[in-house]
Symmetry: C2
Subunit: 255 residues, 2 copies
């Protein structure tokens, strides 16, 4: 005998970076209990198979500048369904709190008095490089790693990014969602004094079977990415650790 | 009919941050196939139950300055077992490539010609804050997050860390393994100009049932941590996002 709760619950679940096996056990468990799943462009749709057939599936993806539900609309959907007593899974690519506005969704739920739980996920910022043979930290090469949202155009005067600081770092930089701003990201790093020889790798659809990696340095990566016609979604890694790919590129070399 | 491979394979598996449900599906699958599991201090020992009873279990934990196998010894164990044809799981707390020397282990395996795969995990740097109600990034508060190894004493002249850069950041800083250097980390951030009111949270055993969080600011966090007798392992979060914990602290408030 289970009693129907009058208010439901929302699970903010990290879908992981793309490889559906990189979902967590807890994420799978939440999906199996879902009455409703709201999912992203970056969440692998194969993961929906863990939800009951009867569950409502709502695509709330954002992609480029096309039409997509505003954040307020997503917040409203989460709140409405939970207030109707539903168990709601908000499936977000990567980790819910590494960019992607999971914090804002949690704030909206807290403000509405709706119980929620966060199920962290494997972030593409670490996993896409790992599948390309690049450890984002290394004892002798990088004692820090910084994740940066590449959505913010560094040419905008009001940008919140801190280019001198980023450029001066000896640590690894990982840009998420940076493909459209690649040219200006590279230009800013060079302007701020990063050497032209600094290694860069761009990984598209990291950890999926379709993973593709373009490797170069700050001097030539823009041309190489254009020649390869690289499109989003990508993860851009800047730093000496990219050199380790030569020895460690296990995934793309698999039989 | 399966043929015994003459050389085995090593899976470098992220055990996740502590909550055993934050293991990935792929990590569980690798454990289920293991002939040998080498595991860390930070990998939750409950995860060993996913391995066959017959599997050899080898504890290679490091804790403080006590006696523990040197990295070369761990590399040798991995190599020897794989060369004997075994399926070896190297279970590492968090993610194998976020500190913790997974890169060095992969290099040793590549040099020895041993097949290996990397199974990324949920890093405590993101998940411990998430379970404490702290999103490490936020659209209006932090457009970057930097993970820093707290093992390096910032008072050492030869430290590879970049204190002025770190101190000047408006992004979130997350220190892993920083508890023993807390006093000097805080002193350096203050010396470099971070305001005394900068929010700080220290999370011990993040995502486990025993999770404990101490919250303060740069001015008082050392005293508060001492009063609470906080010991490793901890994750230290510095930045405005710590303030969101007031609304978002879902895990420690659970019924």
């Amino acid at each position: 005998m289970t009693e129907r709760r009058s208010t439901g619950i929302v699970y903010l679940v990290g879908a992981g970076p793309g490889d559906p096996k990189l979902l967590t056990l807890r994420g799978k468990e939440c999906l199996a209990q879902a009455d409703v799943v709201l999912y992203d462009y970056l969440a692998n749709p194969l993961l929906l198979s863990h939800a009951p057939e009867s569950a409502e599936r709502v695509y709330v993806g954002r992609r480029g500048k096309g039409k997509y539900p505003a954040q307020e609309e997503i917040n409203r959907l989460l709140t409405d369904r939970a207030q109707a007593g539903k168990t709601v899974v908000r499936l977000k690519g990567g980790d819910p709190f590494v960019f992607g506005r999971g914090g804002e969704e949690a704030e909206a739920l807290a403000a509405a008095g709706i119980p929620f739980e966060v199920v962290p996920g494997v972030t593409a910022a670490v996993a896409a490089p790992a599948y390309a043979g690049i450890p984002v930290t290394h004892r002798t090469m990088a004692s820090t790693v910084t994740f940066v949202t590449g959505h913010e155009d560094p040419d905008k005067p009001e940008t919140a990014l801190e280019w001198p600081r980023l450029a001066s770092s000896h640590g690894t930089l990982v840009f998420l969602m940076g493909m459209k701003n690649l040219r200006s990201i590279v230009a800013q790093l060079l302007t701020e004094g990063r050497p032209t020889t600094t290694p860069v790798a761009i990984i598209r659809w990291g950890t999926r079977a379709a993973q593709q990696t373009v490797e170069g340095c700050l001097a030539d990566i823009v041309d190489k990415a254009e020649a390869a016609k690289l499109e989003p979604p990508t993860v851009i890694v800047v730093g000496d650790v990219v050199r380790l790919r030569r020895q460690l590129n296990w995934f793309e070399r698999r039989p």
